[in-house]
Structures are given as structure tokens and as C-alpha cells.
Symmetry: D2
Subunit: 312 residues, 4 copies
């Protein structure tokens, strides 16, 4: 993978070589991929840098038990499904994960809205950012949706894609060149002009565009991770943050496979019907041919309802 430098890859490899005994719960699935960087978009990645707990720890916390828990696997599975189905969220708060994420700034701005997490971001007041910016793949360059005020429609023509990528590339390169010029630094961090001091980093950075990459350590508990995934792995989420959510879904599957299965069943694949939708549903189940005009649903809710029951 090309999203890290050789030096960074070597540092990660060194961390992976070390191992020590622990009395704590260990997730075999997560140990196998610990520290590894999973590439996302053109320069980003997600990697797990630490974790606490596994499926067993959730069950143990739910029972406030003294030992590690020795019940049968099937009991644990049933309990986890029950907890998720009935929104008993506190046991899932008892497992924690810490990720190192590199992402475009506009993705970081959506991500940070999830407040129930701990964040330590790389500071462009302290350090100089790299010449790394996001360029969408041509198949991601879509027109504004005509139906959804915040979404994307069809992919633009090949010509238009070329034009857009030319703009994005040239502007990002020029803005970065000027960023270095204002800092009075070259690409290697050397001073350009011995007679100038260079603008403060906290000022120069304002010339960078929102597709430049930033990175942070992000730590959250499993309950809040599932909230994040439910919203960001959703088709309505912007593609670029969804790409991160999809990778984290795979990580979660390695970490807590039983909880992942229950999460898929009771959240990702679940649907909610409003009071009015439920009334319509019951009439349909009773054999009635229900039309939109027979209900109090808005046109938009009605269409969402039909899609849920596969009649859209």
C-alpha cells in the first residue's frame, strides 16, 4: 500500500514485532491487524492503535461479574442480541477502541460532530503539513442530486471529470506552493530565503484547501462507535466518510464478531416504522389494498415506507 512512507511502514512493523503477556481480555481478531494501516481514499488510512475488551467483556460488564465469565457461547450470543434489541447500551460502553486516522479536512469536519469520543489531532500550528490532498476518483465525480438537496446524482461526463480534476489539482498544488513560500520553507523543511523569517504556521495554513489531509488519534467506546457507523455507513452519508466507515465496519467485525452480527441484524438491516406507517402495515397484512391517500403520511414518508417493504 502506498499511503504511508517507508519510514512509517517500518515503524509500524517494529511495533507489530513486539509482544508481551497480559492478563487482560484479548481479541485475537484485532491482535492480528493491530497497528496495520488500512488504506482509504487516495492518501488516507485507518489503523487500530489500541483497544480494551472483547465480546466477553461486554457480557461480563452486563452481569457485573467477578471473573472473566464462563457461560456458554450461545448464552453470550443471546444476551448480546437482547441488549442491542432493547437498547441496553451501557454494556457496550465498556469496550473501547483507539484509531489512528488520516483523512481530508472536510471529512474530519463531519467526523468531529460525533462528540462522545476523545480526539488528538496533528497540529498545523506546531508542524508543517505534507503535500497531500484528496482527488476523487473519476467515478466519484457526480452531479448535484435533483431529488436530495444534500446528495449526489449521476456521474459527470469524462470531459467534465477531466476538467474538475484539473482544477482541483492545480489549485491544491498552487495553494500548497504558496503555503511553503509564506512559511519560507522548501519541501524538505529547509529555509528558502535566509533573509526572511517566514510567516507563523498558524497563519500560513489558512491557504490550504479543505481536501488536504489531516490526521488524528480517535478513541471511542463500542456503543458510540456503533452510533457513528449507523450514521456514516448509511447510503445517505457522503461517500468520502462512508469509505472510512466501511473499513471500520470490517475492523469491528474482527474485534467483536458476536456484537457485530447483532449490530447488523438490529441496526444496519433494521427499519423503523412510524405510528402511521405501522397502521398502514397492519391493514396491508389484513389483506387491504392501502393507497397513499388512505394514510396521514407525507408523500415523502410514503415513498420511504414502500421502499422499506420492497414495494418502492
Amino acid at each position: 500500500m502506498s499511503n504511508l512512507s517507508d519510514e512509517q511502514l517500518a515503524e509500524i512493523e517494529r511495533s507489530r514485532q513486539e509482544s508481551a503477556p497480559t492478563r487482560r481480555s484479548v481479541s485475537e481478531g484485532l491482535e492480528a491487524i493491530l497497528y496495520q494501516a488500512f488504506p482509504v481514499l487516495d492518501h488516507g488510512f485507518v489503523r487500530v492503535v489500541d483497544y480494551m475488551g472483547d465480546d466477553g467483556a461486554i457480557v461480563q460488564a452486563a452481569r457485573v461479574s467477578y471473573g472473566r465469565g464462563t457461560r456458554k457461547v450461545t448464552e453470550d450470543r443471546g444476551l448480546i442480541h437482547y441488549l442491542l434489541r432493547h437498547w441496553h447500551t451501557t454494556p457496550f460502553e465498556m469496550a473501547e477502541i483507539k484509531l489512528h486516522v488520516k483523512m481530508p479536512i472536510f471529512v474530519a469536519r463531519q467526523w468531529i460532530r460525533h462528540r462522545m469520543a476523545n480526539v488528538n489531532e496533528y497540529s498545523a500550528r506546531y508542524s508543517i503539513l505534507d503535500r497531500e490532498f484528496y482527488l476523487p476518483a473519476p467515478e466519484q465525480l457526480a452531479v448535484q442530486s435533483t431529488q436530495n438537496r444534500q446528495g449526489r446524482g449521476n456521474v459527470v461526463s469524462a470531459d467534465e471529470a477531466r476538467h474538475v480534476l484539473k482544477i482541483l489539482t492545480e489549485d491544491a498544488e498552487r495553494n500548497y506552493d504558496h503555503y511553503l513560500e509564506m512559511l519560507n520553507h522548501d519541501e524538505n523543511g529547509e529555509q528558502l530565503d535566509a533573509d526572511r523569517q517566514g510567516l507563523a504556521r498558524e497563519l500560513a495554513r489558512m491557504n490550504l484547501s479543505l481536501n488536504f489531509y489531516t490526521q488524528w488519534y480517535w478513541k471511542t467506546d463500542l456503543h458510540n462507535l456503533m452510533n457513528f457507523l449507523r450514521l456514516r455507513a448509511d447510503p445517505h452519508a457522503q461517500y468520502e466518510i462512508r469509505a472510512y466507515a466501511d473499513v471500520i465496519l470490517e475492523i469491528m467485525k474482527q474485534w467483536v464478531p458476536k456484537t457485530f452480527e447483532a449490530f447488523r441484524e438490529h441496526r444496519l438491516e433494521a427499519v423503523t416504522f412510524s405510528g402511521e406507517a405501522l397502521k398502514a402495515l397492519r391493514r396491508m397484512l389484513a389483506g387491504e389494498n392501502v393507497q397513499h391517500s388512505d394514510t396521514a403520511m407525507s408523500r415523502r414518508e410514503w415513498e420511504e415506507f414502500l421502499a422499506k417493504i420492497d414495494r418502492g
Copy 2:
């Protein structure tokens, strides 16, 4: 003030004309300035759009009382000082304020790190941003500090300032022109080219630089507002966010004058001495001539210590 359009100013004025009776606590100071936009930086502002509680409500909450509270003013003042001095924070959580803020994106990125607040940001997925970007005043264009890795040093030369402002202006203008071009929109929101659909807003915005303005509704309680102000009205904070904190300090003074006075006394003007610093201080008070080498403080802490006791 020029940071709002005539239409926006008229809308604010209309809101200010309306008035209705309420049984709630009323802060005369805040009512006087409600909805008004206080300019910050070149295009930003802060305005209060709602609030709950006043100094009396804090005291009332601290006493879990049935009425509005009828104690003497001096008792209230003493209680507020006592609460702040002893870090009894819950009564201050009982007052709330809601601000409408317009600020450069890089300021918003620092601001959002204060998680104990509610935020609703203007969405560039739904709407097109205006051609408004921050240009520092020449006296704010400073070189990188040589002592403080994240701070500013002296102001740059007039020549260099001109050069920096030229870069910032041209890059922002060009990036915005290209933003509109990709959207296939002109300045007035009209379609440019009838044969093109225009790139999705959620994509085109990535070409804007971090000095473009965004805006949000931000709501927090008085305890967390004081945390924000303590950190962001501090000389170590970046000037651009400090400019907002300074305006909010004035707003707080109008809102809860007694709490403001205690906050200044016990937070803004207060200093903390470590265990080692306290030992040195006691020896100095006993008449001893204490040197750095007599203590276990680091060089840097020693200098901070001397500055606190005015011997720096």
C-alpha cells in the same frame, strides 16, 4: 457595521422590535443587545439569539429553592464567589446561552474541540457558501515564534505583508471562482451553462481554503462557556479565536455581571503554583533568596513562576 447584508440587518431589526411578556428570569443587560451582531475580524460576528437564566438563577439553583430567590444582593455575590473559588460548578451549568457565530473555517475547527456544547452548522452540502474569506490585518501578520513552537513572533515587514496578502487574496478568489465554475453557478445562484448539471455541492466545496467563512448556532451552559473563555481569551490562544473570545467576554459581562466579576477574579486573573513552586514561594516569603538551582522546577517552569510573581 459591514459584516452583514442589508437584508440580514433588517431581519435582525425586525426580531428586535418584537417583545412579549415572560415569567422567566430576565437579564436586562442581555435583552439590550439580543440579536445584535457584534463584528469580529473582517467578515465575522457573534450575536446572542437566546439565553436562559441570570445571576439570580445560579443562586436559586445552588439553593434548590422554590421561588425566584429574595436574598440580599451581597449574599448572592458572596455565594457566587464561594462557588467559583471552590469549583462547585453545577450551579453555573444551570444558565445557558445560544450564539450565532460567523467565523473562518480554521477558527471553527479550534472552536469545535469544546465538546460540551450544541452546534448546528450551516451546511455546504445543502447551500452555496458566499465569497467571503478572512484576510488578516497587516499588524496580525507575524513570523513564526522562535520560543513558542505554536505561536507568533514579530510582525513581518510591510513588503512581506503585501506579498502575503496578495497570495491569500488571489488564491482565495481563484479557488472561489473555480468553486462556482464546478457548481456551474454564477455569483447569484444562476446556472452558468445550460448543458451542464454542475458538480455536487458536497464535492465542489473541497476546493475552498480554510480562511473561508462558515457559521453556526452554538449553545452552551455558563460553566462550559467559562471554560471556553479561560482557554480562548488566553494570550496563548491563536489571535483569531481570541478575537471571538474577547467579544463573548463582553457579552458575558452584560448577561451575568456578578458571575463575570467572580470569574475575572478567580479564573482570568488567578494563577496556579505547583507543589515545587509553592515551596519556593514560602521560602521567598521567609526572606530567603531562592535561585532556580535551589528548586526542582524545570527551567521553563521556573521562568513561568518568576513571571507570575512579577520577577520575570
Copy 3:
């Protein structure tokens, strides 16, 4: 109502007499009942002591608008429904309410688990608690449920009810007598024995049982209030906290009638189907006669599913 002293009622009445003009949003429904104590259980109450915002303020925040918002009522209604249906929660965080609540300690212990709120509780380290404890009405004295490990079953016999109430009453009275004795205080706060100093309040209180009343100021935003109500107005919640949730539902209806209507529709009356339940549902709609053994649902989930579609 008898849950307050004459003095407290007079203090509340005095607060209700006062009125002042405000430029803020005003909720007519909430102004009408501000400060009034709504009785709950035998000695408890809920009363609104302050609020911020109304239905219009939610819409205004969602639009990050400059004025108070002047759209048509039907548009506001549609937007509020849309926001709730699609879990856009931040606009609802922009309205805030502050309640004064008196409740048994065991209810307070369930209530406090909702962390996204501000609390200031009456302190039994500072003050002496009153001789007020909760005695369930006979129709609330139910046996342990045999189906639900945490619920109630049928009402106990009249004889057993009498016996239980005798125990609860005698134990609470005795424990309170001993509380005062250890404090060396009589009912009116007068010293009992001039030669004794009396045990510290923070110690003596440990002799009180969990049905004694405490009180607090509790402040939360509308989004978190709805979370509280969804969980605590639910039939699975313990009756005693549900009694409070039911009163607060009525308060919410006065405060933000449009949001209340959408909340009832999309939360209170809504149901969620898991992936497996949705599969079964679609087969039923296609006319298939689906049995439990045809699905991967647990027995318990299957029964919950049938209840949702009214075939339980």
C-alpha cells in the same frame, strides 16, 4: 394539591405574579404553567422553572437563520417531522428546559443515569431532610413478574398489601426518628439534648431508606429530554419513574406542540423491525403463512414481532 407546604405554594405564586418583557422566543403553553408544581406519587412533583426556545427556535436553528423565522406553519411542521424521522438531532438540542423535581431516592438513582443533563441536588450534607417517604398505592403493590426478570406481575392481595404498607411505614418512621435522634434535632430543627453535639449530617443520612424523597434542579435539552421520555414513559420502565415521565410528556406537549406530535408519531408509536423480522414481514405481505420455525428469530423476538404487528 398537598405535595407542597403553604409557604412553598406562596413563594411559587409570588414568582408567577411577576412578569417582564423579553425579546426572546416565548412558548405561550409553557408560560401558562411556569413554576406550578404538578403532583407525582404521594409527595413528589415536577415543575418547570425555566426554558429556552420553542418549536420555531428549532426550525430557526435548523436553518441557521438571521431572524426569528417567518415561514409558513405547514413548512415548519414538515421540517420537524423530517428532522425527527431522519435522526437529525442537533436542532432539537437547541431548546432547553429546567425542571425542579421532587422524587424518591430510588427514582433519582434511575433518573441520574441519563448523563446528558445538568443536575443540582438538595444536599443532605448541608440540610436536614423532611419526614417524607414514598408509600405505593395498594394497586401498585405487585408481585415479581414470572416472565420479566425485572418487572411486576399481578397486584398482591389486600391482606398482603396491608402488611407491606405496615412494614414500609413503620421502618421509614423508625429510621427517620433515629435519623433525628442521631442528629440531636427535633422535627423543627431544634436541638434535642443540650449536652450532645449531634452526629454529622453526612453520616446520619445513611440511616434513611431509599423511599425517602430528595429533590433537584434538572436541566436538559429537548433532544435528550425525548431520549429520557422514550425510555422512561415506556411500559418496561418502573412505574414510579414512569409516573414522572408521563407528567413531563404533558409539559412537553405544552412547550413544543409540533415537536410533540412528531415525537409521538416517530418515536413513541414507532416500532423497529430487525433484519430477520423485516424478511418475515415481507413474506407475510406476499401472502405467505410464516411460522417461527421459518425464521432465524429467537422465540422471544418472534413473540415481540407478533405483538408489533398485532398478531401476538
Copy 4:
């Protein structure tokens, strides 16, 4: 230690025997005591059931680094001191600890006020509580303080101590007997009377007094743990919760020794002077003989000030 049953001790011992390799950061100090129960008060305990991170992980997060961090120990120490002194709190949020705690209910009620933590409490709706209640040691039975409205003064006489302990014991025993009687259960969970069903557990528990023990899993990050310790290991905290804080301080010392040292230096042993106190201090350092009347401090703040500089 006698605060656990033989069965519980055996279960803990079994957990301690197991060990597995991990690639994560390991705290040797914490591994040595993992799962062990440290006794607190007469029946309580604290034990660590899981953790994430160590001193190195804090430094690693502060630097957003790729590897485990390989800087020199002295650099790490200096950085940790710097972070704590300047209230850079986010790196400390990157370490997490999970405790199993058993404590009297009135202690749990103070503890839960720290909201930035995850809690899963043993449920008295599901299960029957044990006959375990807190009885203060005679030397902890103090009279109400005459100076501090919420504190303790001198120890009561031996006679009065005997009397108080007699009351506390008899009331707790009786209330527990009645709890079992209402549940229709004997000490071993067997039904007492075959013709009665027994009151629901969620009701019967209300007869227990606040000194009965409860237990929970409590998980928090190091930043919030230090907040908890700063407030609860303080001499103004009630002795009973301070006893827990003191044990947790020792645990923290094993876990993150460098952070513990900095925490002691910059929080536990640090003092804060208000603006007025600082003015007085500077005049004293200049050789002036400052009296209370020369300052704007309240009498109480003046006395606190003198105590801080050892002239109280």
C-alpha cells in the same frame, strides 16, 4: 481480606492465572494487581478489571505518532509535566481504566455525579442484594462541624458512638429482614411461604437504607479519573468516598507512574491564588506587612490564603 466470598476470590484467582500475548502497550505495574480486590471500608473494594494505555501511550497520542514512541525517558517525563501544567488534557483522555467497585449506596450517589464515565450497576430489579451494610469505625463517628456546613468536627464520645452504631445496626438488620420478608425469600434465595408470590424486587428494595452496599463496573479515561481524584481525594470530600479515592490514587501510581508524579506536583500539591490574593502575595514578597483590611478578599478567602502560604 474478608470483603469477598471464597467463591469470588477463587474466580478472581482463576482470572489472574490466565495470560495471553498482546501487541498492545502493557503497564507492568497494573498487570501485577489486575483483578485483585483492594478492600475499602468494611465490605467494599476496588479492583481493576481492564485498562488501555500507559505513560508511553499518552506521549504517543500527544505526538500523533506512527510507532510506539522511542524517545528518551526524560523527554517523555518533561512532555507529561508540560501537558499537565498547561491543561492540555486530550492526551490523557487517550488512556482508559475499568474498575469494579463495591460501595455503600450513599457513596455511589456522590460518585455518579462524575458524568464523564461509563457505568453498569448491579441491578436490584433483577437480583436480590446481600445483607451487607456500612457501619463506620468508631473513630469516623464525628459531630457536625460548626465551621463547615457540610463537614465533620470532633469524634463523638465512646458512649455516643456505641449508641449510634446500635441504631445503625438494628435498623439495617430489621430493614433487611423486612426486605426478605416482602420478597418472600430467605437468606439463601429460597421461597419462605409457598402460598405467597412475594413483592416485586423493584419495590421491596425501597426499604433498604443508604448504607447498604451496591456495586458497579465503572470506566473512565485518565483525564476524567484525575478530575475525580482531585475532588474526591481532597480533605473536603466526605471520608467514605475519600477512602475509595485514596485506593485509586495508589492504583494510578502503579498504572502511569510518570503521570502520577506530574499529577501530584501540578494538581494535588498545587494551589491557586485569585487576582486579589496574587496582589497581596506580590506586596508581601516586596516586604510589605499586608493585613486583611488592606485587601479586597472576604474574611474566609483571606484565611484560606494564609493557610496556603503557611501563615494560617
